[in-house]
């Protein structure tokens, strides 16, 4: 993900590019492109990131529109999940002889 601070006001905005490589898989972040508008962003993303059939679908979104969690707060932010080991199946003891569980 890019956080380009635009020094040139005339610079085309930055778009993040997400590509679905084939049906059945999620879109995945591939990189970014500059473009004047969303159609151009799609065209550039196609030319830059799918020259070898790497995708069947592309999403582009303006980088400035993405809201991200702050890595500096990561430990506090994700802390609530840390002590809930009972959310994992390995937490439970199953007596020997019980099957299909």
């Amino acid at each position: 993900m890019s956080q380009g601070n635009t020094m040139d006001d005339n610079e085309w905005p930055l778009y993040e590019v997400f590509i679905r490589s084939r049906a059945g898989l999620s879109h995945r972040h591939a990189g970014s492109v500059h473009a004047a508008d969303s159609q151009m962003a799609l065209d550039h993303a196609r030319d830059v990131y799918t020259r070898r059939n790497e995708g069947v679908s592309i999403w582009v979104v303006k980088s400035s529109e993405i809201i991200a969690s702050d890595p500096a707060d990561a430990s506090a932010f994700f802390e609530p999940a840390a002590d809930k080991i009972y959310r994992h199946p390995t937490f439970y003891e199953i007596p020997e002889g019980v099957e299909n569980l």
């Binding site: 930055l14 990189g31 508008d37 151009m40 890595p71 500096a72």
Partner: protein
């Protein structure tokens, strides 16, 4: 390499300003082979080193289109033309992946382009040599892309995530570049006496500049140690150069052309080739702007930039108008 790292000065000054605890935690993450991502805390010097290295790398890809582009309209067959066009297009793509990786560090595309055009930013010395014959297109793919691969494979494990990911994409595409170049050399070396002489002549001219792509010898590259500690760099310049010589010399033998080095010999004890002294004066001259094509390369890039200005402005105006209409 594409980033020969020659304009690194005073990188240690900023370190004093950074908090010692943050620095230690950062280094511990690097040592544990964790990747650093764009919004993570990083020392200023790490950021600056990466911006410089990634942007130099991007500029090299962009300028690197010129020597090969020179032969697009004169390729000997439609097949060769299609292949060369695809390769040159890939290099543009490599430049774009890398510019966007550099932008994650807080620089802008406009700033990087301005630094290239003003001559402030460097690009690889190799692209300041001319492509005089079709055989040069073979030699570039085989040797220049070959040397680039040698350097770029370890960069796929670089500590900075966005750079490493860009390098993975690039490396996937590079082996086609090297193979098409070797194939051109193979055709020529199996051709008429004249064609074989062309292949030899290309090797004569491209061999030494290709070895220079790895940058100065380890004794003279004083900033390597810091880049190694940050795991931006995994092997020294001399190590990579040696690997390149070891794999490439047997390929030249297969082609039946001679590597232009009287001191080249295989050392059975070490299992490595020993090779002659590199003319570092030539290297520094080319870097200082006095190579055969430096001025031509920048002029051409400047012209392309200027000629494209109206397109950028028109697209901008169109998007603005369109956006206003959508909002209304």
């Amino acid at each position: 390499m594409y980033t020969q790292g020659l304009d690194q000065k005073g990188e240690n000054a900023g370190r004093r300003l950074d908090d010692a605890g943050l620095l230690a935690a950062f280094q511990a993450r690097i040592d544990a082979e964790e990747k650093i991502e764009a919004k993570d805390w990083m020392p200023d010097a790490y950021r600056r080193t990466l911006i410089r290295q990634i942007s130099q790398h991007a500029h090299s890809e962009i300028i690197g289109m010129q020597p090969e582009g020179n032969w697009l309209t004169r390729a000997p067959s439609l097949r060769r033309k299609a292949i060369l066009l695809a390769k040159v297009q890939d290099e543009a793509g490599h430049g774009l992946y890398l510019y966007s990786a550099a932008e994650t560090l807080g620089t802008s595309r406009g700033q990087m382009v301005a630094d290239l055009l003003s001559g402030k930013a460097k690009y690889s010395s190799i692209f300041n040599y001319p492509t005089l014959t079709w055989a040069d297109i073979g030699a570039i793919g085989w040797l220049v892309d070959g040397a680039a691969i040698m350097n770029q494979i370890p960069l796929c494990r670089c500590s900075y995530g966005p750079y490493a990911r860009a390098m993975v994409r690039i490396c996937k595409e590079e082996s086609f570049h090297q193979r098409q170049g070797f194939e051109i050399m193979l055709m020529l070396s199996r051709g008429s006496a004249e064609q074989k002489a062309m292949a030899q002549d290309a090797l004569n001219r491209w061999w030494w500049p290709s070895l220079m792509m790895f940058g100065p010898g380890d004794a003279d590259s004083k900033h390597s140690a810091q880049s190694m500690a940050w795991k931006i760099k995994r092997f020294s310049n001399d190590e990579l150069r040696q690997k390149f010589v070891d794999v490439t010399v047997p390929q030249a033998e297969f082609l039946g052309i001679r590597v232009p080095d009287d001191d080249l010999k295989f050392n059975a004890q070490t299992g490595h080739y020993e090779f002659g002294e590199i003319d570092w004066q030539e290297f520094f001259d080319v870097l200082a702007g006095n190579g055969p094509c430096n001025r031509q390369r920048l002029e051409k890039r400047q012209r392309a930039h200027d000629d494209g200005a109206w397109v950028r402005e028109a697209a901008h105006a169109y998007a603005e108008k369109h956006g206003q209409r959508a909002a209304a």
